[in-house]
């Protein structure tokens, strides 16, 4: 890999180089920390950078390796986590004032697994506050910028992670996806992002937004890199009753799998109006890539698609209104000054501690669960959710994967949609049904807009069939070579 700067290596290359002692974990970590120092001020992908602990962890990895021991597939490789995963003793804010200076007393299962696999934790990534947003603009610490065009948003809510991966300030990251929060920023930043099947990755220690939709997953610069990270973080966890006890397959092997004979569904509802021309062309290119390798196209229908967005905006806020009720200033996090009495302390804390978008969703959620409205909103949304799930079950009786755009447009400008929540919500129109159905989805780069902005294709699969998605995404990746690292001046 002579001539390629270390930050441009894939995660798999970096892990191999450490294992083969071509480079030490300390050297690699130092290189990444120095890149963060130079690049991150332009991108703002990080909320917290951990130079001291990262160097210490790297030194331990080097010592272990010198003694002939490797902890796992990420041994010595610097990665980072969205600031929604609890990290023991390391501030975890969810990009919210209300969790200012919150040091969790425990590690999330994802954090624990990443550490056990030998990874070095570089820091915590920026995000939309409590993962509520599609642009990373609702972060209390300010927006992350798209490394491909720094006046544009990186997508969200895992925008910090996608931007950092595209900017080469980490080899991979773990984000979360409630309605597209991994796939949409991956698409907008030209990287790979996978939302696994609901229940594949433990939610323990992942700060809850909407419990029945949230799922953690990898963001990386290649499909095999994403497969390696998912293999590390996946698996049953007794601490999460919704995690499913089934074996974790060899995801990396799946990326080598032939797609010959694979039936690729094209839902007509996803290629209707509102789709940007360059996005349409790029997704068509992705389809051609699959067909050129022997896959077949099948036109399908997902008839309840038009109700997905409104269903989501009832269920997700309802769960969020309850999940976020615990931030009351009593035990941890921010507490507003000056209140007299309990009610005033709690109201002030929540009034000052939450941003506008979070408050909007708490209010929607509180409303739809209220006595007298529950059946009309939440009850009905659950029924529509069942219909949406059935759409996919029926579609998957005839196809192996479904191909769609990930986002309707390439990255928009910072500030462009921030005052128009409805338009902002529409950026998740293609990603939301997947969360409602609990199925896996991946976004893989498949083109560039005329302005040089990345465009991703989304592949959806059957429950627990991430392997088909890795196979198809890897095929697209091989057929459509695109730069994964944004062209940033150091």
């Amino acid at each position: 890999m002579a001539g390629i700067p270390v930050h441009a290596w894939t995660l798999i290359e970096a892990a191999r180089a450490i294992r083969d002692k071509e480079i030490s974990s300390r050297e690699l970590t130092r290189a990444l920390l120095s890149r963060i120092e130079r690049i991150d001020p332009k991108i703002h992908g990080y909320i917290t950078v951990l130079p001291e602990t990262a160097m210490r962890e790297a030194a331990v990895c080097d010592e272990e390796l010198a003694g002939g021991h490797t902890r796992g597939p990420l041994h010595g490789v610097p990665v980072a986590l969205k600031d929604i995963f609890c990290t023991k003793g390391v501030r975890t804010t969810c990009a919210s004032r209300i969790l200012d200076n919150f040091d969790p007393p425990y590690d999330a299962t994802v954090t624990k697994k990443i550490r056990e696999a030998g990874a070095v934790l570089l820091g915590k990534h920026n995000m939309d506050e409590f993962a509520m947003g599609s642009s990373t603009e609702t972060s209390r610490l300010g927006p992350t910028r798209n490394p491909w065009a720094t006046d544009r948003i990186p997508g969200g809510s895992s925008g910090g992670t996608a931007a950092a991966v595209a900017a080469g300030t980490c080899f991979a990251g773990v984000g979360t996806d409630t309605g597209g929060s991994i796939r949409q920023p991956a698409s907008l930043c030209g990287v790979v992002g996978m939302k696994p099947t609901y229940g594949r990755v433990s939610r323990y220690g992942m700060i809850a937004f909407a419990s029945s939709l949230d799922q953690g997953g990898p963001i990386a610069r290649s499909v095999p890199d994403a497969a390696v990270v998912l293999a590390v973080i996946a698996g049953h966890d007794r601490r999460d009753s919704t995690s499913v006890d089934i074996p974790v397959p060899d995801f990396l092997a799946a990326t080598e799998r032939d797609v010959k004979g694979m039936r690729v569904g094209l839902p007509r509802e996803y290629f209707a109006g509102g789709l940007d021309a360059s996005v349409r062309e790029s997704v068509e290119r992705a389809l051609k890539a699959l067909l050129s390798r022997g896959a077949q196209a099948v036109e399908i229908s997902l008839p309840h698609t038009e109700f997905a967005l409104s269903t989501y905006y009832i269920i997700a806020p309802a769960e969020a209104s309850s999940n976020l009720a615990r931030y009351d200033g009593v035990r941890y996090g921010f507490r507003a000054d000056g209140g007299t009495g309990l009610i005033e302390m709690m109201s002030r804390t929540r009034g000052e501690g939450f941003g506008a978008e979070v408050k909007r969703r708490i209010m929607i959620g509180t409303y739809v669960l209220s006595a007298g409205y529950y059946e009309a909103y939440y009850g009905k949304a659950q029924k529509v959710r069942t219909l949406l799930r059935r759409d996919f079950t029926e579609a998957f009786s005839g196809v192996d994967v479904i191909l769609t755009p990930t986002a309707p447009t390439p990255a928009f400008r910072i500030g462009e949609k921030v005052d128009d929540p409805l338009t902002m919500y529409l950026s998740d129109i293609y990603t939301i049904p997947c969360n409602l159905a609990g199925i896996p989805g991946i976004s893989v780069p498949c083109g560039m807009s005329p302005d040089g902005l990345p465009i991703g294709a989304q592949l959806l699969g059957k429950h627990f069939d991430e392997e088909a998605l890795f196979a198809a995404a890897a095929a697209i990746e091989r057929e459509i070579p695109l730069p994964r690292l944004a062209p940033l001046e150091e």
Binding site: C86, F102, P104, P105, A108, R203, D328
Partner: protein, 471 residues
């Protein structure tokens, strides 16, 4: 106009599991504040509940013991409200689909037996406790102790089948005894591990429709429940007789004043925004598990009372007292079986020493031994009492104490004859008077013999020997 009360009771029983309902923290009382807590029960960001299997087992066993139908599928919901003792700002509780429904308990009150329906049994978690400023030295503000957070509770809701405070009391006591028999709850009302709220309304006798009900809270003993019900029924009848209308509200029992006081009205009722907890999957209970647990149900209090009174021929009242504790009844039966002693005498002893027996302070063989020794005349009734007291105090076997302290009595007529002869020889004047018809002097001779034997002679045998010698 004659009125009739309609009462339904809601019991919250704290389940005696080792750990909490959704995390592995100890569920026991008495730890230092916030010692029995972890990220899960303190509602840290990102934590998730995991249901304790033992808790479900305890509730299924209770359901079976109260003839409830265990639902194949039940659902945990979130009850949302803000309070500093509720760290997640919601309580996880079964709402629309409880674990068990449609059961009953048979009770006896005012000499008649009645069957009281059980609407539902469901599981939920407890909240923490607030300690307010001034509660102890150094407490300058309100403080939260979260040890009790997520301690498992089982709510048992009766049908509105109870008609009198006595029936309410009988139902509660029987329910408590069942839970204690099952060893699922310690049944302590004063300490709050067995709590009761009551829904009360009155209606003219003979009318079918229910009146407007009030919910009563804050009754921390069986006696207080009965007193509160009595007061509330009188109050509601008074309101109606004065031409007023009972309002739907929650009222608190003030035990010191002996009255119920309005706490909040219907319009102040919370909107708890219940919805199924997405962190917990619906609870599925399969029939095989229920069947297996059915085999662990012991003989229940009602069955035991009936069996003890018929088998041993003891009064029903005694059988009730003995059956109030599984341990007490077991010791009674074992003591009778030990040497075939008189059941009534054994029952009396068991009832007399109930407190020491059920608290485990009395070595279990004590009752059998003292009853046997009394029946054989080896000890006196007075010595028996002294011996049991000493056994409680020292924990030593009662027969060892008897021998060490020399508390046996002489019941052998042959052994007493020499002493009796000596006494008669030493009191010729009294002998003469006795023989002349002063029968009352017999007790004088008995006293002399007892004095001579330093109290060890069996007075009944002494009398017999004396009578024979004096005639």
């Amino acid at each position: 106009m004659a009125f009739e009360a309609v009462i339904g009771l809601e019991v919250h029983a704290q389940l005696a599991t080792g750990s909490k309902i959704f995390c592995p923290c100890p569920a026991k009382f008495g730890a230092a504040p916030n010692e029995n807590t972890c990220p899960v029960c303190t509602g840290m960001p990102g934590v998730l509940p995991v249901l304790n299997r033992r808790v479900v087992e305890f509730a299924i066993r209770t359901a079976l013991a109260t003839s409830c139908k265990v639902q194949e599928r039940s659902v945990f919901a979130r009850k949302n409200y803000f309070y500093p003792d509720l760290p997640k700002a919601y309580q996880i509780s079964q709402y629309e689909l409880p674990l068990a429904v449609c059961g009953h308990i048979d009770i006896e009150a005012n000499g008649t037996s009645r069957r009281i329906g059980i609407t539902r049994i469901h599981l939920e978690e407890d909240a923490g406790k607030l300690v307010h400023a001034g509660a102890f030295a150094g407490a300058q503000t309100s403080l939260a102790d979260l040890n009790r957070c997520s301690v498992p509770l089982m709510e048992i809701v009766s049908e509105p089948d109870l008609r009198t405070p006595e029936e309410g009391g009988a139902y509660l006591r029987r329910l408590r005894d069942i839970l204690v028999y099952l060893e699922v709850c310690d049944g302590n009302m004063e300490e709050g591990s067995f709590r009761c709220d009551a829904n009360v309304s009155v209606r003219p006798k003979g009318r079918k429709e229910f009146g407007t009900r009030a919910e009563l809270k804050n009754m921390n003993s069986f006696r207080n429940v009965e007193k509160a019900l009595e007061h509330e029924i009188r109050r509601q009848i008074g309101v109606i007789e004065d031409g007023g209308a009972v309002v739907q509200e929650t009222r608190l029992w003030d035990a010191d004043a002996g009255v119920t006081v309005s706490m909040r009205g219907k319009e102040e009722a919370h909107d708890y925004r219940y919805f199924p907890d997405p962190d917990l999957l619906p609870l599925h209970v399969d029939a095989a598990w229920v069947e297996e647990l059915g085999k662990t149900i012991p003989e229940l209090p009602g069955e035991k009372v009936a069996r003890l009174s018929s088998r041993y021929g003891i009064p029903r009242y005694d059988a009730e007292l003995l059956s109030s504790s599984r341990m007490l009844a077991d010791i009674f039966e074992a003591s009778v079986a030990a040497f075939g002693g008189n059941p009534k005498v054994t029952a009396n002893e068991c009832i007399q020493w109930k407190e020491a027996i059920v608290t485990g302070r009395l070595p279990p063989e004590t009752i059998a031994h003292v009853v046997e020794d009394r029946e054989t005349g080896t000890i006196s009734a007075t010595a028996s009492k002294t011996l049991v007291e000493m056994a409680i105090e020292t924990g030593k076997p009662v027969r060892q104490i008897r021998d060490e302290k020399g508390l046996t009595q002489v019941s052998d007529a042959g052994a007493l004859e020499a002493i009796v002869t000596k006494i008669i020889a030493g009191n010729p004047k009294e002998v003469e008077s006795y023989r002349a018809g002063k029968a009352g002097l017999l007790s004088f001779f008995v006293g002399q013999v007892m004095k001579e034997t330093r109290g060890k002679a069996n007075p009944r045998v002494v009398q017999e020997v004396l009578k024979a010698k004096l005639e």
